[in-house]
C-alpha cells in the first residue's frame, strides 16, 4: 500500500543497528486536527513521517446523484453543503453554470451582480478567518482562533440578516439572488469593513510575526509551483507556491473586471516559496483584498431588480451542457451541468478544489515530523464536505 521507495529521511538512513520498527498510525477520521473526517494513514519512524496516505469518503453524500433527482432550484440547496464554509461561492458557481445554459441573452441585473460579489467576498473573508484560526490551533495557539471567530461571527450575523441563514445560505439563485439587501444592511457591511481591517493587523501581531509560529511553518511542507500545477492545486495553495493564478483576474466572471484588487502570491518571505507560511500569508492578504473589493462594490451598487425576469419560478434550463468555474475560497470550483430541457438536470459534475489540494499531501509531507504533518494539513485548508461531496 505504502511504498518503501519513499524513505527520504536522514534519521533512518544512518547506522543499520539503529533501525527500529516503523509504526502505522491511523490519524482520523476522528482526530482534532484533520478538519472534519479526513483519515490519514501515516507510516512513521518515531516522530518522522515516512509516508502518508489520505483516505477520503467519510462524508460522501451523493451530491451529484442528488442533483439528478431534484429540480434545478432544489439543487442549489445541496451545493451549500459542499464547501460549507463558503456556501455563497458554491451557490454562485452552480447558478453560473445553469445561467450559462440559457445563453448570452440572459442578463443578470446589475444589483444582483453587486450583491453576489459582496456576499462572495464577505464569505471568502469568513472562510479565511476560520482557516487562519484553526491553523493557529493546529500549531498550538488557541487564542487567535477565538479572535478570528469574533469577526467571523459578525459576517455570519450579516448573512443571517440578509438571507436568514448563517451557514447554508441558498441565497444566490439562477438569474439573481433570493432577497434584496436594504440600505441598513449595506451600512452594516460598510461598518464591518472599517472595523475589520485593523483586526487583520491584530492577527499579524498574534500569529504572522510570532517567532514560534514562523519556525513552525516556514520551510515546512514546501510545495513547488510545478508540483502544485501537476496535482491541480488551485486557490491559496497554488498562489502560495508563487503562481499568480486567480480566476477573478484570469477569467473575470460576474463583474469582477470592474474592481481593482491584487492577487497575493507566496514569496518565501520567511522560508522558501510554497511553504506553509506562504499559504497562510496568502490567506491573510486575501482578506484585505476581499475587504477592499467589498468596499468598492458598496460604492458602486445600483438600485434595481435583483432577479432576471427571464428565469421563471420554475427553473427549466434549455437543452445543452455548460461548464463554468469560479474562484472560491479554496480554489477553482467548477460545475459541469447537462440539461435535457427539463426541470431536473440530467447530470451535474462538481470539480472541488479541496479534493485536488489534499491529494498533494503525501508529496509534501514525506520526511517531515508529525507536528509538521498537522501544520501541512492545516495549511492546505480542506473542507471535507467538498472533498467527499
Amino acid at each position: 500500500m505504502l511504498s518503501d521507495s519513499t524513505r527520504t529521511n536522514a534519521v533512518t538512513s544512518g547506522s543499520a543497528d539503529l533501525r527500529t520498527e516503523e509504526m502505522l498510525l491511523n490519524m482520523g477520521p476522528q482526530h482534532p486536527a484533520t478538519h472534519g473526517v479526513l483519515r490519514v494513514l501515516v507510516r512513521t519512524d518515531g516522530e518522522v513521517v515516512l509516508d502518508c496516505e489520505p483516505h477520503v469518503g467519510y462524508l460522501h453524500r451523493c451530491f451529484e446523484k442528488h442533483c439528478e433527482s431534484v429540480t434545478t432550484l432544489q439543487s442549489v440547496l445541496y451545493t451549500d453543503r459542499l464547501d460549507y464554509l463558503t456556501a455563497m461561492g458554491n451557490n454562485w458557481g452552480f447558478c453560473m453554470a445553469v445561467e450559462k445554459l440559457y445563453g448570452p441573452e440572459l442578463v443578470i441585473p446589475e444589483r444582483a451582480q453587486y450583491i453576489r460579489v459582496i456576499c462572495q467576498e464577505l464569505n471568502r473573508i469568513a472562510s479565511h478567518l476560520l482557516a487562519i484560526g484553526t491553523y493557529g490551533m493546529d500549531v498550538g495557539a488557541i487564542t487567535p482562533f477565538l479572535y478570528c471567530f469574533r469577526e467571523r461571527e459578525k459576517i455570519l450575523t450579516i448573512f443571517e440578516h440578509i438571507c436568514g441563514q448563517r451557514l447554508n445560505y441558498n441565497y444566490i439563485r439562477p438569474g439573481g439572488v433570493a432577497y434584496d439587501v436594504d440600505d441598513a444592511m449595506l451600512a452594516l457591511i460598510k461598518d464591518f469593513c472599517g472595523y475589520f481591517l485593523p483586526k487583520v493587523d491584530e492577527y499579524d501581531d498574534l500569529l504572522s510575526g510570532n517567532d514560534i509560529f514562523v519556525q513552525r511553518t516556514a520551510n515546512v511542507g514546501v510545495l513547488s509551483a510545478k508540483l502544485a500545477i501537476d496535482y491541480g492545486c488551485t486557490g491559496p495553495v497554488l498562489r502560495g507556491s508563487g503562481v499568480p493564478r486567480d480566476l477573478r483576474k484570469d477569467q473575470p466572471y460576474g463583474i469582477y473586471d470592474r474592481f481593482k484588487f491584487e492577487v497575493p502570491v507566496g514569496r518565501g518571505e520567511r522560508g522558501s516559496v510554497g511553504d506553509c507560511y506562504d499559504r497562510y500569508m496568502v490567506r491573510v492578504r486575501e482578506m484585505r483584498e476581499s475587504t477592499s473589493i467589498v468596499q468598492q462594490a458598496l460604492k458602486g451598487i445600483p438600485a434595481g431588480e435583483i432577479r432576471s425576469s427571464k428565469i421563471k419560478a420554475k427553473v427549466r434550463p434549455p437543452k445543452g451542457e455548460a461548464f463554468t468555474r469560479i474562484e472560491n475560497s479554496r480554489g477553482d470550483l467548477g460545475f459541469y451541468v447537462v440539461s435535457e430541457g427539463k426541470e431536473v438536470l440530467y447530470r451535474v459534475k462538481c470539480r472541488a478544489p479541496s479534493f485536488h489540494n489534499i491529494a498533494v499531501l503525501p508529496e509534501i509531507s514525506r520526511g517531515s515530523m508529525i507536528a509538521d504533518l498537522i501544520a501541512i494539513i492545516g495549511s492546505l485548508d480542506i473542507v471535507l464536505g467538498e472533498v467527499d461531496r
Binding site: 509504526m23 498510525l25 491511523n26 482526530h31 482534532p32 486536527a33 518515531g46 516522530e47 493557529g136 490551533m137 493546529d138 500549531v139 498550538g140 495557539a141 488557541i142 487564542t143 477565538l146 479572535y147 469574533r150 493587523d201 499579524d204 501581531d205 498574534l206 500569529l207 504572522s208 510575526g209 510570532n210 517567532d211 514560534i212 509560529f213 514562523v214 519556525q215 513552525r216 499568480p244 483576474k249 481593482k260 491584487e262 492577487v263 497575493p264 502570491v265 514569496r267 518571505e269 520567511r270 492578504r285 484585505r288 515530523m369 508529525i370 507536528a371 509538521d372 498537522i374
Partner: protein, 410 residues
Amino acid sequence: MSMDTKTLVDWVLGSDAGFWWRFAGVAAAWALPITLWVSLVGLISIWLERKISAHIQCRLGPMEVGPHGALQTIADGVKLLAKEDLIPDGADRMLFALAPILAFAGTFVSFAVIPFGPDLIITDLDTGLYFLAAIGSLEAIGVIAAGWASNNKWALFGSVRAATQVVCYEIPMGLAFVTVAAVAGTLSMTEIVEQQNGMLWNWYLFRNPFMPLAFISYYIASLAECKRAPFDLPEAESELVSGFHTEYSGMRFAIFFLAEYAAMYVVSALAVVLFLGGWYTGIAPVDKALAASPLWGNVVGALVIITKSFALIFVQMWLRWTLPRVRLDQMMHLCLKVMVPIGMFVLVFAALWQALLPYAGALNGREALYPTLGSVTGLVVFLVLVIGGWMWVRGVIRATTSYKTANYRT
C-alpha cells in the same frame, strides 16, 4: 511549627517499639494538610486558568456555578468522580492504575520541602534543593508509564515526548539550581530565603549580573517541566489527541490534571524561593517588623510567598494562551544548544563573581540596605533583558506586518 529532620529522625529512631506506627503517624499527620493544600491550589489554579484564558480570548469563562464560576471546578471534580472507571482493553491494568499515582506522588512530595514562611516548612532538609531536583523527575516516570500502559499509539507518542522533554530540561534547570547553590553556599530552602533578607535588590534575582539569566533560564525550563505551552508537546491536543492521558478518564484523569497544576505551583514557589526573596516583601523595615513577631511573620510570609507564586503562575497561563507550540526538534534545540550553554556560562561567571567579588555580591547573613555593585548590575541586566527582549519581539512583529510589496500582481 516546623519539625526539622534531625528532631524527627531522633524521635522516630529513639525507640524500637512501634517504629513504623510512629513513622506512619507522622507521615499521615503531614500528608493531610499537604493534600488539602494541593487540592486548594489545584482548585484555584484551574479556576484562574479558565478565567484568564477566557479574558485573554474575549470570553467570560465559567459564570454559572458560584460567583464568577468559582465553584465550577468543584462541580467538574464531582462529575469526574461520578464517571465510569474505564480501563481500555489490552492495557496493562496495574501500570495503568499506578501511573497517575506515580505522576502525582512526585509533585506531592515536593511540597514537603517548599517553605510557606520562616517556620512554615514541613521538613527543612539540608539538601532541600537536591531533594527537589531528584523527586521532580518522578512525574516523568508516571507519565511514561501512563503512555505505555494505555496501549494507544497517541499515548505512547505523548509519553515518549514527555520523557525526552523532562530529561532535556532537567539539565538547564539543574544548572540554575547549582548557580543558586553556588551563590548561596547552601542547599537548604530556608537558608536560601534568609540570605535574601533586606531590600528588593538583595533578592537572588539581582544578586549579580548573571542571576537574571539564570532566572529566565530556570523559568523556561520550568515551563517545559510542567509541560506548559509553548512546551506542551506531550499532550499536544491538535497533534496527539490528548497525548499521554488520551485513554484516561474520570478520577484518574483528574489526578493527572491536579498533578499538572500542583507542579505549576511547585515550580513557581521554587522560583520565588530561589530568586524572588521567598517570604520577604523586599522592603527591609517591613520585613524586620514582621520578623519580630513569629505569628505575623509566618502569616504574612505565607501570603507573600503564595502571592508571588501565583503571579508566576499567571505568567505561565498568559504564555500558554498566547504562544503556539514548538516542535520536538525545536524544543530540544532550544534546550541543548541554547539554554545549556547559557546555563554553563551563568554558572561559571556567577561562581567567579562570588569568588572574586564576594562583598559586592552576596552579603551572606547581613542585611544589605544599600544596593551593591552586584545588585546594581544585576538590576540593569534584568531590565535590559526584559525591556530589550520586549522591544526586539515587537520589532520582529512589526517587520513582518509590512504588507505592500513589489511582488504583487496587479
